[in-house]
């Protein structure tokens, strides 16, 4: 029972983290989907399944947090490039601050002695 709950919690935690990572990468430069996944995959544990990134990009685009533009490719069909919009940049700043505060809070809680946590 507890293991099952853990299994459903981790993807949710990862989903929140993935959104933040995507926004952070797109803040640096415009990139296309496959390249974005390649960069995310350079850090273990960020992407559980590569296919999850495309629905996320589509959702961010619908929300106006990323903008897209088609560009010709030298090695195939045109590619859809994603870049952060102004709204996305604001969203990134807010999420980053919240994430850091949340991460610190979780780390502090995990560092507590067991007796103190159970109180």
């Amino acid at each position: 029972m507890e293991l099952e709950d853990t299994c459903t919690s981790m993807p949710q935690l990862r989903r929140g983290g993935l959104e933040l990572c995507v926004l952070a990468i797109l803040a640096n430069r415009a990139t296309y989907g496959f390249d974005l996944i390649r960069r995310l995959s350079e850090v273990d544990g960020v992407v559980a399944t590569e296919g999850a990134v495309y629905p996320l990009l589509a959702r961010l685009r619908r929300q106006g947090r990323v903008e897209t533009r088609w560009r010709e490719s030298q090695s195939g069909p045109p590619r859809r490039y994603y870049r952060l919009s102004d709204s996305g940049a604001l969203s990134l700043r807010v999420l980053k601050a919240e994430w850091q505060a949340f991460r610190d809070a979780v780390d502090a809680t995990l560092a507590m002695p067991e007796r103190q946590v159970g109180r």
Partner: protein
């Protein structure tokens, strides 16, 4: 040697994209087109850059990508889509037509086979299995079983020539009898008949379990309607 392997790889990707198309049918058309386009582009990109030529490579690529269902779930941003049901009645009926439909000779079985091939939920292997496993279904298997049973008996016939006299006393002048050997020996015939019957019953059951378990794997919680 290379060609069949390549076509199998193509079939793996085609099945995956076909399932993704099916599962994403409930999305808005533009949203769906964007998702399908992105996934197809991703697959094409990985294939061209890593030269995926065998089944293991194709399956590894798709495993990294995630199941079609998990991708569609991501569109909703949560694990389970609310109120989602999967209606497997057409698939169940198709298999029933194949197994029992031969009560309506030819038509019933043909209807089942056409329904199986129309359904996108069956994999290619399941479609072929449903088509080739005892064509005609259970009735054909029973007919075959009776025929085998009859053919494993020694069949004898006799002719006589004579007269029937007063009081019904028959005078036999000559008798000839002939016996036909069985097509197969009784133990083999019995085994063959049992095997055909089992295949006729278990074959559609196996296909049903296969399509049902894929639709209801632990990664893809659904309410299944049958």
């Amino acid at each position: 040697m290379t060609r069949p392997r390549k076509s199998r790889v193509e079939a793996i990707f085609a099945d995956y994209l076909s399932e993704l198309r099916l599962l994403s049918a409930e999305l808005a058309p533009t949203e769906r087109a964007e998702l399908l386009g992105a996934i197809e582009e991703h697959i094409a990109h990985v294939r061209s850059s890593t030269n995926v030529t065998d089944e293991a490579g194709a399956r590894a690529l798709l495993a990294r990508l995630g199941s079609p269902d998990s991708i569609v779930d991501e569109v909703y941003g949560r694990k389970t889509r609310p109120g989602r049901t999967v209606d497997l009645k057409p698939e169940r009926n198709a298999l029933l037509w194949i197994s029992l439909g031969s009560l309506l000779p030819v038509f019933g079985w043909l209807r089942g086979v056409s329904a199986v091939w129309e359904s996108a939920r069956f994999s290619r292997a399941e479609k072929w299995a449903a088509t080739l496993l005892v064509p005609g279904g259970l009735l054909a298997a029973l007919a075959f079983t009776f025929w085998i049973g009859a053919a494993t008996d020694v069949v004898c016939s006799s002719d006589y020539a004579g007269t029937v006299g007063a009081g019904g006393v028959r005078t036999v002048l000559s008798t000839s009898s002939s016996c036909t050997d069985p097509l197969v020996s009784p133990p083999i015939g019995f085994g063959l008949a049992v095997a055909v019957l089992l295949v006729a019953v278990l074959g559609p059951l196996w296909v049903w379990r296969s399509v049902r378990s894929r639709t209801c794997s632990p990664d893809t919680p659904h309410l299944i309607v049958v």
